[in-house]
């Protein structure tokens, strides 16, 4: 390459805008003929997707997964990357950027993409141990680390980011409070009614919101640790950690000191040029036509316009500002907002509210055209509305049509969309691009994402991508691997079950031999459960397809010993039972005896060799605490003793545990029964929960969880008697058994199938399945045997099952 003709282009800031603009320039100049590009970044990483940081915080994604341009990408594209050292000055006259380590980087053209930083209110205590901001990968890692040992965390700021932070914090254990100065949450995006509904949903997730509270001080204990917050009204909130999310401030100081025109941020024209013709600014540090944008969609538009101008290759055209419209998922709640938030006196307002389901929609209509919209809980109509807002088209006389979108017919309306219609707002991918990828053979949402990036941001457009695949390719290959029952066999559960039955495959090795594309242990484990449920007593039980826990019927510990947890039905025990456990614990020198979170007793540290003896000395039933099966049914004391108890929760819990013991399931299943809505047995966050109600009825919840995910169960039905409750639980269990993927907990299964559909199938018997389900669950329960009995009665099931290390002496060397 002729270096003389190449200009030195320096991009200052390696964030969302900086890396994107480099990509846009490369797109227009793939050979790199125009520029010799250097990217300067203060963060010690390649470029990662900042909007996915909350997933780092809640642990659902890894650093690698959210990285968009790994460090190697830069060199591979001929870009010099200088990371880890911030710039400390720009010299416009000498055309240099000064770095903290003393280096000076010359430029012919400079693009400032320094983004913004969290605004930290100037209140006392801001520098205490346990106070964090939420902006970078490092922030998230520190917050997560600290949160694990925190009891109560407070987030200052109830905006989008504050709520995301709150949600992330929840996953680490502390109780979480959000403190907001405005009268309601997410004040930038939604109005007060929307905020109230959102607040209710957020509270349901376990976050306590305090609105109208201005924090004036972060209080400390004698040392330098956080102890609480103090508010303007004199009240206080105890907490041991604080995350500040009180807005952002553009990083515009360097530009200002250099002499560029800066108002709220660096002022740019329609080509993103600053007051110096060699210098551009883009992203959150730039101000265009009086507006500073804090979302990625407008930033993508800016990057395209800038690249057009700087390369002279026109693809996008000049930048004329972006409409502020956002569709987000905040704490699992879909929120869309566009245009104006509050109505003017003469405006027509159309409002729809359904507090129970957390749905709120509002349209502001001015002179017959849409001026703004807010959608909380259901954003189906978002695209339709955004189109109307953009085009200024006349609205249908029946306004309700706007609120609920046109009738379903989603796919042909998708096919009719113009090619330049943006589908993925996070990555700015339009329909045309996606269709191209589909035509090139990408027929899964995942592969389209890999090819175009669409759907890899917040994920809210994945449904649309799926629709497009259906419309273009005829059928959606739902990410095949996702639908497989086990990874090694490319079939979903019904297909696999049918094949297994057709060929009469009764052993895992036979299925692997006949159908698997590769060997893997997870698949063997999953198949074992499926085959057992299909063949019952005819199943050929090969022990090598079981994980060690299922071979030794206890949970392997980090030192190779095992835990033994016998059943204590409904958490109710007796003096005799306790003495038996105590005797065993003594006899085998059990190092740790612990009460579990499942209302029973764990004997930890048992040697493999001792297991059979421990089981038979206990003479109790196996608690299945180590495997994918029905685990426990926790109970509360209920009407037997409790002054609030309205029904006998203990008796029902014990009956349930006796009924379902030994049932293997696609993933573990935990149940609980509470005697009144105070819910001391925590039934609403169990796979199956039952709560006694005033008037002698029982309310059944399904799909609850409080492990990795926290989800409140959905109310399946109300029944009048214990027998009826057990019958409904059994029916649900069998349906779950037959339709869930391996390792799919009910907290994923129930939302996947949908509560309405479950009710239709299990209660109204809309598909005529109930009789069959009832019969089959009965058969499985009949076939269940206690593994502790089974494997001690006739001795070891395979050589070495209960033997430890066997010693072999070395021959004596001459």
């Amino acid at each position: 390459m002729d270096d003389v003709n190449r200009q030195k282009l320096v991009i200052l800031g390696n964030g969302m805008a900086g890396a994107r603009v480099a990509e846009e320039i490369l797109k227009r100049d793939p050979a790199g003929a125009l520029f010799d590009i250097t990217v300067i970044g203060a963060e010690p990483h390649g470029n990662y997707n900042r909007i996915l940081l909350s997933n780092i915080l809640n642990g659902s994604q890894t650093e690698e997964e959210i990285t968009m341009n790994p460090i190697g990408w830069y060199a591979a594209n001929g870009i010099q990357l200088l990371i880890g050292t911030p710039a400390i000055g720009i010299n416009l006259a000498k055309r240099r950027v000064m770095l903290l380590d003393g280096r000076q980087i010359p430029y012919d053209k400079l693009i400032v993409a320094t983004g913004s930083r969290p605004f930290v209110p100037p209140i006392p205590g801001i520098d205490l141990y346990g106070v964090y901001t939420f902006r970078t990968l490092e922030d998230c890692k520190s917050i997560a680390r600290f949160a694990r040992q925190s009891g109560v965390a407070a987030v200052i700021g109830g905006g989008l980011l504050g709520l995301e932070a709150a949600k992330g914090l929840l996953t680490h254990g502390p109780a979480v409070h959000v403190v907001e100065m405005a009268p309601h949450l997410m004040a930038v995006q939604v109005d007060s009614a929307g905020g109230t509904i959102l607040g209710r949903t957020v509270a349901g997730l376990g976050v306590t919101a305090h609105c109208n509270k201005a924090t004036v001080e972060i209080l400390s204990d004698e040392g330098s640790r956080v102890r609480g917050l103090k508010f303007k009204d004199g009240s206080e909130l105890a907490c041991d950690m604080v995350v500040i999310s009180a807005g952002i401030r553009p990083n515009a100081e360097l530009a200002k000191e250099a002499g560029l025109v800066v108002e709220r941020a660096i002022v740019v024209d329609d080509h993103l040029k600053t007051s110096d013709p060699r210098v551009y600014a883009v992203g959150e540090c730039a101000q265009h036509a009086g507006k500073v944008y804090g979302l990625v969609a407008p930033i993508w538009d800016q990057c395209a316009a800038l690249a057009d101008h700087i390369t002279g290759v026109k693809v996008a055209g000049a930048y004329s500002g972006s409409l502020i419209a956002t569709k987000l998922k905040v704490m699992g709640v879909n929120v869309g907002s566009m245009g104006e938030r509050d109505a003017q006196p003469m405006d027509e307002v159309v409002r729809y509210e359904e507090a129970e389901r957390g749905i709120y929609k509002k349209l502001i209509i001015r002179d017959g055209r849409l001026a703004g919209a807010i959608l909380v809980g259901d954003t189906e109509a978002y695209d339709e509305l955004l189109g109307k807002l953009r085009s200024g088209a006349a609205l249908p006389a029946r306004r309700a049509e706007l609120l609920f979108g046109a009738a379903p017919a989603a796919d042909f309306s998708l096919a009719g969309l113009p090619d330049d219609k943006q589908v993925c707002d996070c990555n700015g991918v339009c329909k045309g691009k996606i269709v191209e990828a589909i035509q090139a053979g990408k027929t899964t949402v995942h592969s389209v994402g890999k090819a175009t990036r669409a759907g890899t941001g917040c994920g809210s457009c994945r449904k649309m991508i799926a629709g497009l695949i259906e419309a273009v390719a005829g059928e959606l290959k739902a990410d095949p691997a996702e639908a497989y029952y086990v990874p090694a066999i490319p079939m979903d559960k019904p297909a696999l079950a049918a094949e297994v039955k057709k060929r009469g495959l009764r052993a895992v090795s036979a299925v692997m031999e006949a159908l698997a594309t590769r060997e893997d242990e997870k698949s063997k484990m999953g198949l074992a459960i499926l085959l057992r449920s299909i063949w019952g007593r005819e199943y050929i039980d090969e022990r090598d397809c079981r994980f060690v826990n299922d071979r030794l019927h206890g949970n392997i510990q980090k030192d190779g010993t095992f835990s033994v947890i016998p059943r204590i039905y409904g958490g109710v025990t007796t003096a005799d039972e306790l003495m038996k456990i105590a005797t065993v614990a003594r006899k085998y020198n059990v190092p740790t005896v612990k009460l579990t979170g499942g209302q029973r007793i764990d004997l930890l540290g048992i040697k493999k060799e001792d297991l059979p003896a421990v089981w038979s000395d206990l003479g109790m039933t196996c608690g299945y605490a180590y495997t994918k099966a029905f685990r426990t049914c926790k109970t509360c004391v209920g009407s037997d003793w409790c002054r609030f108890g309205t029904n006998d929760s203990t008796a029902l819990g014990i009956a349930i545990e006796k009924k379902f013991q030994g049932l293997e399931t696609p993933a573990k299943v935990k149940m609980a029964v509470s005697g009144c809505p105070r819910n001391c047995a925590e039934a609403t966050t169990k796979d199956v929960g039952i709560i006694a109600t005033e008037g002698g009825e029982w309310e059944l919840f399904v799909g609850g969880a409080c492990g990795v995910s926290v989800r409140k169960g959905d109310v399946l039905c109300r029944v009048k008697s214990q027998d009826e409750a057990i019958r409904m639980v059994a029916r649900f269990m069998q349906y779950y058994q037959e339709h869930a993927r391996y390792l799919e907990r009910t907290y994923d299964f129930v939302p996947r199938i949908g509560l309405e559909r479950l009710r239709a199938i299990l209660i109204e018997d809309a598909e005529g399945l109930c009789a069959g389900l009832d019969e089959r669950v009965h058969a499985s329960l009949e076939a269940a045997v206690d593994p502790w009995v089974e494997d001690t009665r006739a001795g070891a099931k395979y050589p070495g099952q209960f033997e430890g290390l066997r010693r072999v002496a070395l021959p004596v060397l001459a």
């Binding site: 060997e519 022990r543 397809c545 050589p799 070495g800 066997r806 072999v808």
Partner: protein
């Protein structure tokens, strides 16, 4: 290191450990052979191999693990190790020691000096 008593230059002799039939099909068993704790596996295709019983990751008891083809899967965190090379499927993890193994007349012999000295 398991082979403290022997110099690699002078490998110890093969030691009879057990009958093939004493190995569970598709699983492993643990043996202490002189100074070395060794896990011996027998695949469903009757391939028998010997690796260290201590997972190089966090010391998991390999013999309790499952087999995925010719790979042994540690029971603690599911790292996989190849039977022939000892290579781990996780980046940055060192290979596990592999011991020479022979079957003579239905008897399993191993040599307690590993093939691949761990790097």
């Amino acid at each position: 290191m398991p082979s403290i008593h022997m110099t690699p230059a002078a490998p110890a002799e093969f030691v009879a450990v057990c009958d093939v039939e004493e190995l569970p099909i598709g699983l492993g068993r643990a043996f202490q052979v002189g100074p070395a704790a060794i896990a011996i596996f027998r695949t469903r295709r009757d391939h028998v191999f010997a690796i260290d019983n201590r997972c190089p990751h966090k010391g998991g008891p390999m013999a309790e693990g499952m087999l995925a083809g010719d790979q042994a899967v540690c029971p603690l965190h599911s790292f996989r190790f190849e039977s022939a090379s000892g290579r781990c499927d996780q980046e940055g993890m060192c290979p596990i020691a592999v011991y020479p193994l022979e079957i003579r007349d239905g008897q399993v012999f191993v040599n307690p000096t590993p093939l691949n000295e761990r790097r």
